[in-house]
């Protein structure tokens, strides 16, 4: 997948800085959306017998979030490690870094 990594670019313009910040916020927001999608599928049965979250569902959601972050950290570390190996550490801006 190395063809997807952008090269380094010097002195970002104003538009580029805004785009990078926008992309970073968008990534966090995407991550939240995927978390909602994933964890509700894992923890909320689709019969909807009651409108409230019960104890088991609530605890499942909490643990799902914790595990989702842990997986993100592991995957991000792994990919940063590999990117550095391939590119000699010259990885650009918003590339592999999730938690800024």
């Amino acid at each position: 997948m190395s063809f997807l990594f952008g090269g380094g670019r010097p002195q970002p313009s104003s538009a580029e800085k805004i785009a990078a910040a926008e992309a970073e916020i968008e990534m966090v927001s995407n991550m939240f959306n995927q978390l909602v999608d994933t964890c509700t599928k894992k923890c909320i049965p689709n019969q909807y017998r009651e409108a409230d979250l019960n104890k088991g569902e609530s605890v499942c959601l909490d643990r799902c979030v914790a595990k989702f972050f842990e997986v993100n950290v592991k995957v991000s570390e792994k990919m940063q490690g590999e990117a550095q190996q391939r590119q000699g550490g010259a990885m650009g801006g918003g590339g592999g870094s999730m938690f800024g």
Binding site: K17, I18, F32, T40, C43, Y48, A51, L53
Partner: protein, 94 residues
Amino acid sequence: MAGVGGLNAAEQRELQGRMEQKQMKDFMNMYSNLVQRCFNDCVNDFTTKSLLGKEESCVMRCVDKFLKSSERLGERFQEQNAQMAQQGGMNAGR
């Protein structure tokens, strides 16, 4: 959500404008995902043209549950995010 630090005031304003648009889109996406999910899970009878009573109440419970679930996930997400930022996240040098 750190990392916005490098922007000057004009850039921050521009970014904020875009974020407001994004918020509107996010809300709409959330809304339509909610509808799609609850429709999918609750409406399975196409022998009638109008919602059955049990379909409607299933949809209402589904919406309630989904909103509560999203709210709880949002709280945990913020906590975890704050915790990561405190630990310096994964790129402390930034």
